[in-house]
């Protein structure tokens, strides 16, 4: 008996139907012509990077121990002793950085092509949630290295919640597992990072992709109508992007491997405390304005970002004017993001 028949007996499903569904959903998925342009493919890169993060993350958990006594030591062990440990750790760390950059690129493309417009508003909102989930992923992951920089970054990071009115302090205590950053914080962050956030991000990602597939990829105006099959053209395009991303990641890991720093010392507060670079715009902004105003403005920004697809139509009845205003808003946000990031990097 052939393997195929053996399997058919155990899984007596309608194979013809299965192949048909597979062909319809994946192989022959109609891809609009404009996706032949590379910069329209940025949605795939965060997905590729997420897959890499899962693989490298699992490898790291083989050695990582989330306790104040062992966290730093186990990261040191991974980096210095374990075979290719520095590479896997580097891919994971750089992967998180590139994932944020990739998401920003994807959002830039979606924003300027106005793909968030009706009927895709929900998907934009889910996308924004995915972006914040990614930031939470990075924040909790960075804390796990438990060196002096990450310890104090965690302290100031969680401190920011304290400024949130009414529920802020409760959130802080929940995040830290107490008033201070202690062993409880480390185990909590580890649980968030490897237990809670992965299923959450996969859930939202599934919704994001399902909604995308239901509506089909949005088609910007001005392109010649027409479609081609997912396989082979687009499939190989994604493979090429994956290989390219791996090369970039690996190169960055080799040139700028993540360091170990000095072990966290809760008794010694450094004068200079900084979060990871992707929080620089917020961090620099909070330094520039009074904390309460900073928190309120940041909160409004997040709300504005989430509900942008509903805000934009209110800006003007004239479609062309609306587009121009949106472009100006988008351009300003990007310039501010880049400008504040550079500022915080240069002064420190």
């Amino acid at each position: 008996m052939s393997v195929k028949n053996w399997l058919k007996e155990r899984f007596p499903i309608d194979y013809a139907k299965f192949i048909e569904i597979n062909e319809n959903i994946f192989m022959k998925e109609p891809i609009p012509n404009h996706l032949k342009k590379w910069y329209y493919c940025t949605g795939a890169t965060p997905l590729i990077l997420l897959a890499l993060q899962i693989v490298t993350g699992i490898l790291l958990t083989f050695y990582f121990m989330p306790s104040p006594e062992m966290a730093y030591e186990s990261v040191r062990h991974i980096t210095q002793d374990v075979r290719l440990g520095f590479w896997v750790r580097g891919l994971h760390r750089w992967g998180s950085n590139l994932m944020i950059i990739a998401l920003l690129l994807h959002m830039t493309r979606v924003f300027f092509t106005a793909s968030y417009q009706k009927p895709r508003e929900i998907n934009w909102m889910i996308g924004v949630i995915l972006f914040f989930l990614t930031l939470t992923f990075s924040f909790t992951g960075y804390a796990l290295t438990y060196n002096q920089l990450s310890y104090w970054a965690t302290t100031v990071g969680t401190n920011m919640f304290d400024a949130v009115p009414v529920i802020g302090h409760s959130i802080l205590v929940f995040m830290r597992g107490g008033e201070e950053v202690t062993a409880n914080t480390l185990t909590r962050f580890f649980t968030f990072h490897v237990g809670m956030l992965p299923p959450l991000i996969i859930l939202f990602l599934a919704m994001h992709i399902i909604i995308l597939r239901i509506h089909g990829v949005s088609e910007p105006e001005g392109y010649e109508k027409g479609y081609y099959s997912f396989y082979p053209h687009h499939f190989y395009k994604i493979i090429i992007i994956t290989l390219f991303v791996l090369c970039v990641l690996s190169t960055l890991t080799i040139i700028y491997p993540p360091g170990l720093g000095t072990p966290a010392d809760p008794t010694v507060t450094p004068t200079h405390i900084k979060p990871e670079w992707y929080f620089f715009p917020t961090y620099r902004f909070l330094k520039l304005v009074p904390l309460n105003i900073g928190i309120i403005v940041s909160g409004l920004f997040v709300v504005g970002m989430i509900f942008w697809p509903f805000i934009e139509p209110m800006l003007s009845k004239n479609k062309s004017t609306r587009t121009k205003i949106a472009w100006v808003v988008g351009a300003m946000v990007i310039i501010l993001t880049v400008g504040l990031s550079v500022w915080e990097t240069v002064v420190a």
Partner: protein
């Protein structure tokens, strides 16, 4: 430009901008994360000093050292330590800025933040000016300029400053990194604790502790924190591990006297009474040291080891008694004399003398050989107890008595004329059955005194008991000694000397020894070269 083109341009420009700039930002931050150098934020005042120092190339390396210090990381800049007020002994106007600067920050300045450390230091013998109190004027023998870069350099550690503070923190914590790692290096202690009078670094280097440090120390992180009652993180101790660092039971201290039970550097060994109101009795101090030993050793080992070392210290006193007896007698008989002007003497026959052989021998027997003998025993430096210790002490004694005989002393002449082996022990003895290292089987079968004086151990018993009664040994130590005394056949190994296995092994080595002896006789002793010497008798 149509909308599609504009869109493409916007996406293209901003995507490129985000990729390029953010990857650069991420790379810069990643590079910082890998940097060993801590991040330092330099305040405006310090920046002014640093810029000028760099421009004028004055002590630039010190600035670099400061940048890597914990001070720099904590935001402690130049003026925090170098602040001065008008009239301060070390105040000087910086010519470039008109700022008043303190050129010599003293322990008083350090105490602004490190008050506990400074107080502990002040209470330690590191801060004691013992060398100024008794027969201070060495300059009659060692001219003053020599003292500048000689004794004064090390004894700066107990300098009394015009501001009323004492000591020199950077004697161990080098300016301007004030590195704990450097302070912990045995070589730091060895800057002063070296040489013929107290070769502590040499003793350490030849000890098992030093040996392990030499082999593995390069991989140890010596920056560890020792204030949290945590286990000692290194495999073998360096000097400060035992004398200063904390462990699970002992707090870290800058009072190096807190754990020392004997004044074994003094002309006579005596149980320390230093700062008893704060530190307690010598037994409490020994208890602290033992608590550190206990990190790595069992009490079975370190209690016997330290008891034996204590008995070496007491034995030294009995030898010292000989030197004092002879120098006093020779002085009284007018065979040697003190240096003096009018009634003021500049030498002391029992501490130092500068120009006569017995005084010199007495001095060495205390200040050099006597210390090496005792400190070698305390810190596992066998060679220093043996060849640089007892051997040279005995040589000094023989030379001194011979000198007295040559200068007409009848008692000394009688000693010189004696052929009896006991002449080399003209003083009372201490001993302990066996050692901390294990049970020997033949070692204790040979000593003349063991074999010819049936009351040997009774005499020793009486001496050790007397030491105990005089609080020179603790009750615990006396009981430990008694247990060994009562079971001395076991500890001396004499009980096992005729065991079949021991005899067989010993016979085998005796046979090998005979072969060796035959060989050296044939190859060396009996060799008669045919070419005659050139000197005619």
């Amino acid at each position: 430009m149509d909308t599609v083109k504009a869109q493409q341009w916007l996406i293209g420009i901003f995507s490129t901008l985000l990729i390029v700039i953010l990857i650069i930002v991420a790379s810069v931050e990643m590079k910082k994360s890998a940097s060993e150098k801590p991040y330092v934020e330099i305040d405006k005042k310090s920046a002014q000093c640093i810029t000028c120092h760099e421009k004028q190339n004055i002590a630039v390396k010190q600035v670099e050292a400061w940048k890597e210090s914990k001070h720099a990381v904590m935001g402690i800049g130049c003026t925090e330590c170098h602040a001065a007020e008008e009239g301060d002994f070390d105040a000087f106007k910086c010519p470039q800025s008109d700022v008043l600067v303190a050129s010599h920050p003293t322990p008083k300045d350090c105490a602004e933040c490190h008050d506990q450390e400074v107080e502990e230091f002040e209470n330690s013998k590191h801060a004691h000016q013992f060398w100024l109190f008794a027969n201070a004027d060495r300059s009659i023998f060692e001219n003053p300029i020599s003292a500048r870069h000689g004794c004064e350099q090390c004894h700066q550690i107990s300098n009394v400053w015009p501001d009323g503070s004492v000591g020199e923190c950077d004697a161990c914590h080098p300016k301007h990194s004030f590195s704990i790692e450097v302070a912990r290096q045995p070589e730091t202690c060895g800057e002063c604790h070296i040489g013929p009078d107290h070769p502590h670094i040499e003793i350490y280097n030849e000890s098992k502790h030093g040996n392990i440090f030499a082999a593995r120390g390069k991989d140890w992180d010596m920056n560890y924190n020792t204030t949290n009652n945590e286990p000692i993180p290194i495999e073998a101790p360096v000097c400060v591990t035992c004398h200063m660092d904390g462990n699970e039971t002992q707090p870290m201290t800058h009072d190096v006297s807190a754990r020392l039970a004997f004044e074994s550097q003094a002309p006579w060994s005596f149980r320390t009474v230093w700062d008893e109101e704060n530190l307690g009795t010598w037994e409490e101090k020994r208890g602290r040291m033992e608590a550190i030993c206990a990190s790595c050793h069992s009490p079975n080992f370190y209690k016997i080891y330290l008891l034996t070392a204590d008995l070496v210290n007491l034995q030294y006193n009995e030898m010292r008694r000989m030197f004092v007896y002879w120098t006093k007698k020779l002085t009284k008989d007018g065979k040697i004399s003190q240096i003096k002007v009018g009634d003021k003497t500049y030498s002391n026959p029992v501490i130092n003398g500068w120009d006569e052989k017995p005084e010199e021998l007495m001095y060495y027997a205390w200040h050099h050989e006597g210390r090496r003998f005792r400190h070698g025993a305390m810190m596992m430096g066998a060679d220093y107890t043996q060849w640089h210790g007892i051997w040279e002490l005995q040589e000094d004694m023989v030379e001194m008595i011979t000198w007295a005989a040559e200068h007409g002393d009848a008692e000394a002449q009688k000693w010189v004329d004696s052929n009896h082996p006991s002449k080399f022990a003209p003083y009372a003895l201490y001993d302990i059955p066996g050692s901390a290292w294990g049970i020997p089987t033949r070692t204790n079968t040979t000593p003349f005194l063991y074999n010819n004086y049936p009351d040997y151990w009774e005499r020793i018993y009486a001496n050790v008991e007397e030491a105990y009664k005089n609080n020179l040994l603790s009750k615990d130590q006396w009981e430990l000694w008694l247990e060994r005394y009562e079971n001395r056949d076991h500890y001396l190994g004499t009980k096992y000397k005729d065991n079949e296995a021991v005899k067989e092994l010993f016979d085998m080595y005796q046979k090998r020894n005979a072969i060796d002896k035959k060989a050296f006789n044939e190859q060396a002793v009996k060799l008669d070269l045919p070419g005659k010497p050139f000197y005619k008798k």
